[in-house]
């Protein structure tokens, strides 16, 4: 009997379950950080991108990402993920690998919903999710994890700071910019208003769930439970970076706003997690604390930058958390990698490669998603009407009033 096979498989499967659970985390963060009148719509977007993503990735995404390499750019493709995929030389069953990759893909897709929350047409969102899961994500995935050109260059993105998070974050950036801010977010005389979310408790629950799920996301990416030193190390660096992100965002918000800001601190945890993801296996605990600290700083200034300077309205901070912190974390590998990092005498080689990869994914995502969102906008339209936005998407998109002040029955009509 092959014990190593079994150990690796259950490791990957349990990690898949944990990564799956991150969907609940995203749903809670997004619902908590937005207004009650849109909670049902946010929930719907989250469960639909997970579901459509799971199906689309299985139908064509997996083949594009992991099929035989064509010119370093794309996989050969495979309908319904059929085929042996022997060239991957997996040490686990193909289906274990498929489910693990599926939940990663769903993570990338769901990032966008937060940034475009409270004003996007439901149907538009579905189409955008499908495109991300079927094409945009698998292609970048192929470059980096599927044997494509970036992996050839030695680009190191262990568990997806760039593949998953930056990609999601940059798509979110394009989406949030194109759709424009929520009504009332920016006043005519240039003021930036706050639109507080309706439940900090649920938002925090979401952050705890995501942190928990990350213990599948990062260590699971070894694809091997036999690799005991590595998975143990990854647990430690992942946790320390998240902790440092919290502490750093908390202190900076304390200094800047006089009081420690709850939602910035929560975002700090996520920033630390996103940032460590690329180098979690090859930075030291001290490096992890440094990366988390930088991420916390990135959170505060990034969110303010997008919100107040660029005036791009991102209700949950997804662009900064995933896009910016993902990029920062990926580049930081070139600095903090114990092996080839700048600080450890490895010179600039890795740093350059990391930067190239980060920039190329940025460009690819910005271009492709600009085309995508533009097409959607010109055909079915991205945004609900102002009337509908004011009334809330729960009612106008789903006929659903979940948040009455009075307990009421609703009397049937015919």
């Amino acid at each position: 009997m092959d014990y190593a096979l079994a150990i690796d498989t259950i490791w990957v499967l349990l990690a898949s379950a944990l990564v799956f659970f991150m969907q609940a985390g995203f749903a809670m963060v997004e619902a908590g950080f937005t207004r009650a009148k849109n909670a049902g719509n946010i929930i719907m977007k989250n469960i639909i991108d997970l579901s459509i993503g799971s199906i689309m990735f299985w139908v064509i995404g997996f083949g594009i990402m992991f099929g035989l390499d064509i010119g370093g750019f794309i996989g050969e493709g495979s309908f319904l993920s059929i085929g042996s995929f022997e060239h991957l030389e997996l040490s686990i069953p193909k289906e274990a690998f498929l489910i693990f990759q599926t939940v990663f893909c769903a993570t990338a897709a769901t990032i966008v919903s937060g940034a475009m929350a409270e004003r996007t047409k439901f149907v538009a969102y579905i189409i955008c999710s499908m495109a991300i899961c079927a094409i945009i994500y698998p292609i970048v995935g192929h470059w980096i994890w599927g044997g494509g050109w970036l992996s050839e260059m030695g680009f190191h993105d262990f568990a997806g700071s760039t593949v998953v998070h930056s990609l999601g974050g940059w798509a979110a950036l394009v989406g949030a910019r194109m759709i424009g801010p929520r009504l009332g977010k920016y006043s005519k005389i240039g003021k930036t208003n706050a639109i507080p979310g309706h439940s900090v408790t649920l938002g925090a629950l979401g952050v705890f769930i995501l942190w928990f799920g990350w213990f599948g996301f990062n260590p699971g990416s070894t694809l091997s439970g036999m690799n005991v030193d590595s998975i143990s190390h990854i647990f430690v660096t992942t946790n320390l970076s998240a902790a440092a992100g919290v502490v750093s965002a908390m202190f900076i918000s304390f200094l800047r706003y006089k009081k420690p800001d709850v939602s910035m601190t929560l975002n700090g945890a996520l920033g630390g997690l996103v940032a460590i993801t690329a180098g979690t296996d090859i930075v030291s605990p001290v490096g992890a604390v440094a990366i988390g600290t930088i991420a916390g700083l990135t959170i505060i200034f990034g969110i303010e930058f997008f919100d107040k300077i660029l005036k791009i309205d991102d209700p949950v901070g997804a662009i900064t958390v995933h896009g910016l912190c993902g990029a920062v974390g990926t580049i930081a590998v070139g600095i903090f990698a114990v092996d080839k990092g700048l600080l450890y005498g490895g010179g600039f080689d890795l740093l350059v490669v990391q930067s190239i990869g980060t920039i190329m994914v940025f460009l690819w995502t910005i271009i492709v998603s600009t085309i995508l969102f533009k097409l959607i906008d010109l055909t079915i339209g991205l945004r609900v009407t102002a009337e509908d936005e004011e009334e809330g998407l729960d009612i106008v998109e789903h006929n659903f009033e979940g948040h009455d002040i009075l307990e009421r029955r609703q009397i049937e009509v015919n």
Binding site: T192, N193, A194, P196, S253, R256, Y257, K258, K259, D261, S263, M264, I300, I303, E304, D307, K308, G317
Partner: protein, 117 residues
């Protein structure tokens, strides 16, 4: 027949329970309480959320409505002042209205009779 009035007290959320207890002790039991937001001359408080500074203009308040015969007016007003007055803005206001009629649904009593036990 004495006139019936409504005394509407806008209080801080923190002291309304004491006020209710105290009114109860002097025999005033009927009342209706609503959660409201308000501002008077009390300045709002300054906050920040995700880096945006703003001033909250409406603060949480509790509105207490008491319908009584006019003869209770001074009693209630004095008790209220006694309990709620701190001398700083936000202490609250009392508004007094005339009521033309009161009906108790349970026993069809009207006016003054509807207010006694």
């Amino acid at each position: 027949m004495t006139k019936i009035i409504k005394i509407e007290i806008i209080a801080r959320p923190r002291n309304y329970e004491e006020l209710i207890e105290a009114l109860n002790d002097i025999g005033i039991t009927g009342m209706t309480v609503t959660q409201v937001m308000g501002r008077g001359n009390q300045k709002g408080s300054s906050h920040s959320y995700r880096g945006i500074h703003y001033i909250t203009k409406l603060l949480p308040k509790v509105k207490i409505e008491i319908v009584v015969g006019e003869e209770f007016k001074d009693l209630i007003v004095n008790k209220t002042k006694e309990l709620l007055k701190t001398g700083s803005p936000g202490d609250g206001k009392i508004f007094i209205y005339d009521i033309t009629n009161v009906i108790r649904i349970r026993d069809d009593q009207e006016d003054q009779d509807a207010l006694t036990k």
